[in-house]
Subunit: 337 residues, 4 copies
Amino acid sequence: MPATEQTIEDQRAKAGFNFREDIAPGLVLEMPLNSILHSSKSEFQQIDVIDSYFGRTLVTDGKTQSAQFDEFAYHETLVHPAICTYVHRTGKAPKTVFIGGGGELATAREVLRHPGVERVVMVDLDGAVVDVCVKYLPEWGGEAVKSDPRLELTIGDAYAYLLDTKETFDIVIMDISDPIEAGPGIMLYTRELYQHVASRMPSNGVFVTQAGIADAVPPPHVDAGDRDTTCFGPIRNTLSEVFDVVLPFTQSIPSFGSDWGFVMAFSPPKEESKDSPILPISIVDSLIEKNIKGGADSLKMYDGITHQRMFHLTKAVRKQLAIDKRVMTKDNPVFMY
Amino acid sequence: MPATEQTIEDQRAKAGFNFREDIAPGLVLEMPLNSILHSSKSEFQQIDVIDSYFGRTLVTDGKTQSAQFDEFAYHETLVHPAICTYVHRTGKAPKTVFIGGGGELATAREVLRHPGVERVVMVDLDGAVVDVCVKYLPEWGGEAVKSDPRLELTIGDAYAYLLDTKETFDIVIMDISDPIEAGPGIMLYTRELYQHVASRMPSNGVFVTQAGIADAVPPPHVDAGDRDTTCFGPIRNTLSEVFDVVLPFTQSIPSFGSDWGFVMAFSPPKEESKDSPILPISIVDSLIEKNIKGGADSLKMYDGITHQRMFHLTKAVRKQLAIDKRVMTKDNPVFMY
Amino acid sequence: MPATEQTIEDQRAKAGFNFREDIAPGLVLEMPLNSILHSSKSEFQQIDVIDSYFGRTLVTDGKTQSAQFDEFAYHETLVHPAICTYVHRTGKAPKTVFIGGGGELATAREVLRHPGVERVVMVDLDGAVVDVCVKYLPEWGGEAVKSDPRLELTIGDAYAYLLDTKETFDIVIMDISDPIEAGPGIMLYTRELYQHVASRMPSNGVFVTQAGIADAVPPPHVDAGDRDTTCFGPIRNTLSEVFDVVLPFTQSIPSFGSDWGFVMAFSPPKEESKDSPILPISIVDSLIEKNIKGGADSLKMYDGITHQRMFHLTKAVRKQLAIDKRVMTKDNPVFMY
Amino acid sequence: MPATEQTIEDQRAKAGFNFREDIAPGLVLEMPLNSILHSSKSEFQQIDVIDSYFGRTLVTDGKTQSAQFDEFAYHETLVHPAICTYVHRTGKAPKTVFIGGGGELATAREVLRHPGVERVVMVDLDGAVVDVCVKYLPEWGGEAVKSDPRLELTIGDAYAYLLDTKETFDIVIMDISDPIEAGPGIMLYTRELYQHVASRMPSNGVFVTQAGIADAVPPPHVDAGDRDTTCFGPIRNTLSEVFDVVLPFTQSIPSFGSDWGFVMAFSPPKEESKDSPILPISIVDSLIEKNIKGGADSLKMYDGITHQRMFHLTKAVRKQLAIDKRVMTKDNPVFMY
């Protein structure tokens, strides 16, 4: 397939077909549109699968969701640090995992690499995305993940599901769209939801969420609170009002056009220290070998060294986080661009 | 000025003026062109200073050289890890520093923060760039740096200068354009030049160079050696044939549209180990406090934590480096896009 | 200057500076931005003078107003058919001319080529545009036109001026922006204003206005009344409710990205026929020779043959006009894109 | 279909999919890419059918060939003036017609509207284009035209065919790509080919060819012969060395981004005058009624009034043609951009 795609790409550059995406207000990333593999309009959004600079790419409402050449960077970063942290702190594998969103199935794919996981509940709003990904993006997980007996897939509102469920989850992963004004997920980024989630997790249960753009060098207008397009700070702040330990981390995702933020949060039992030093290289590598099927060979991005990079934020980002005091509540949500 | 620039930017978005740059073959970054502060054609290149998404920006032959909002990330990363490593290994400050290129003066600005430095020899091909930067980009260094008595600025060919000089330098910094076929700097990226430079440095003298794009997730065609647009691997490989210790590191530079590579190299005296573990946070912070005028407050990007991030490369980048065997010699140069 | 501009253009193509303009909803024209000669924000609009594909170009609020290489096509088409028609019908030169808008001064420049004209009253809202054009676009008219003793230039609201004046004008020329919702000129496109203007003109006095985009092949959605971006039909229809003879005509203006519409209107005295056949080639050429200073050599676009082209509309445009029934009144204005 | 397309277009604008085409060196037209209906690579070129601003559009090697919303303007202009001129001069319908190129079948569609035509020989290099157009662009002609018993379609080199054939043709129509350096059609634009074609036509037989971009206001660099991107003048000049009467004409084709040139040529018998005044409105309309199946109702663009517009060129274009002395021969071809 790469060979063919290369050829198509060369043709397409000639044809002048492009995909343009605003990656920040005023900043556009443009790349060749080699082909449109699928287009449809679901109840919730426009869904396109294209072949472009970063390989096959899922695009919803014009926004890149994940791309063939670097989706692993996003999904491994979202999943494994959180689970490894849980294993490290509790000495056991998590048994139950909740995924909010995750329609591409790749988050579930990474979770299911952990043999100790017995049950994964995934709740995504848009069943059409799941179907499209199974068909056009099988490497993301596809039928193999969808039909894994450990996965329970529910099409519906993750917020309502979480409020309603009586179940508890060792790990809760939020793989949902950024909080934008018109978006369905805005409630999933509030202190109230985080409080509820905390109540549905055991001690040392780990919550993790994607947290939007987190450039290594935030532009100065972000300092000014003007046209702020980030939610990294607010998510960290809001989680800090609910959990005792809150760890922001980042990973460069080229198809997103920048570094990307994630936040992990948990509350140690009273008797444990709230200190949570960055896990050393050797411990992470050992956790991977013991807890992930296939060990290090299964993963393309995550290992002990990469863990250091992810959790050691640049001075510029740390300064930016330090001055950001915004908290997201039901009554005062924070909207991104 | 920020307030005014904000206003101009809003007007310009309306006016439809844009700056488009190919950051890789097929990948375009487009941003508002708020104003063109300067335009001229020197003997060597088209020189423009614009105000754009990343603030005031130096553009030569259509390529972003550095931008107001993140030039510090590039220049601090190029300079301080190398000098701190020298100080840490030798126990003393470097006295003499050579800068190849560096016309923006910001590399010299960072070098001159080290009070122990007695003499900086900077050789840039294009005096017009220096003049333009002094006038339009004073924060990069400007007249203050240019007229610093420790700086000896020569307009000319750094390659010829290095071959000719009898002087030795504790630190050699290459702040030059990527090796492209038509570029003047291609000879500055060869094994032969590195060998000569090594002969002009004391034991434990540190060489450092920028090394082009170094995405956290290199696209797969790079694996295939096809349309390879990187020089990160070849520079590391070539330096490894000359120096005993070679350390690649990266930093995200948003205005360059990706992570950026750097390589540091040195040869410890025979009696010293060739091991060179990544300097711990506390040691870097201590080196900064002792060796940089103003200490940590002087720097916006570099500190002990950021040092961890820079030198812990992602698994994907390490894998990419591991398979890249190219070496750059006079007879077999490696050309980038 | 052309030689230099050519050189700058080549440099700029390399630099990636562009000017993008939406010429219709979804249709973008992009060209190299060679230089920005002037930028300011007046009380009413953003004003830029750029050097681009069509030479020096006045851009207000991101919309091309006129460009060096084809402004003559627009201004000659706006002015001379109307005045020649007046001379042909009345057997005498017009003495008084009113120009609504016209800040670039080129409309006045064309009017003043008619030696019989004794008085030109020009009322433009934005004095800043006039000043900028005098300084940066002298070929449009500049100081020579501005200081012509026959020209009386008033900075103010043309609508208010017309309602207030007791004067009559042999020729009334509207050289104003398209009627957009937020625009100041919307009242100048209403039946009520046209009725008032008619009352301030002698029998056979000629009214002419620019009338927006008028593509030779209107896209089908225009048929459907959906997303209609034209005002050509509504202007013709509205004038038809006020004047006995209404003549739509078009001219290709490459810097506007399409054919452009104009409408001329007048009411012959009762005793004269209301037939108004398109003036034959020889008559137009003769009128030009007799009534324009310098004769045919003064004009780059208008002559008898071009007159045939302008007034013979394509079948597609005529069909489009035939089905367009919209009329513009104070209470029911028509807004363009 | 329009309703659906409208919907898809709205979705696509959101998705950021675009089609960019250089319509002249430095001038880009960009529009939404609603969908890619077909993509393939034939022996000769990349072939794409897209749905875009101008409806379904055939794009080969990145160049728009014709578009749903205005293909009729191009094809009616290419065919009917030539045939009507033949009928007017000879008093009879043409019986045999040769089409060089014409793979979209729409040129044949227009020719076949003339019931007197008994035989149409069409020779196009690329059978894949014909197949794609039959399938995706049926309104262009499709199966109905392809299977018309009067049409003889040959896939092959029109140049070789013309040199080889012993047949004569009343009408010869060249519907081929512009003469670009790499293009296959360069020989079809030479004096030598025109001489041969003339020898294969009866007295008063009419030759017509598309002739590339012909802006109403050519940019000044065209005057300078520098970066000339037109072939309108050279085609007219070359035909003038072979035929007695040569008539350039133009039509605005919005999807081509400008006015487009055509040239008609013929040689009256010795006893007839070489004067060839532009056919009056009434004669053209009468020729249409008598010689085209369905009469005026069959045509969307061509009629007597439109004929006036097409053949009355603007003063600027006439001036440009007057100074262009280039002639195209085998040894000295003229290449377009």
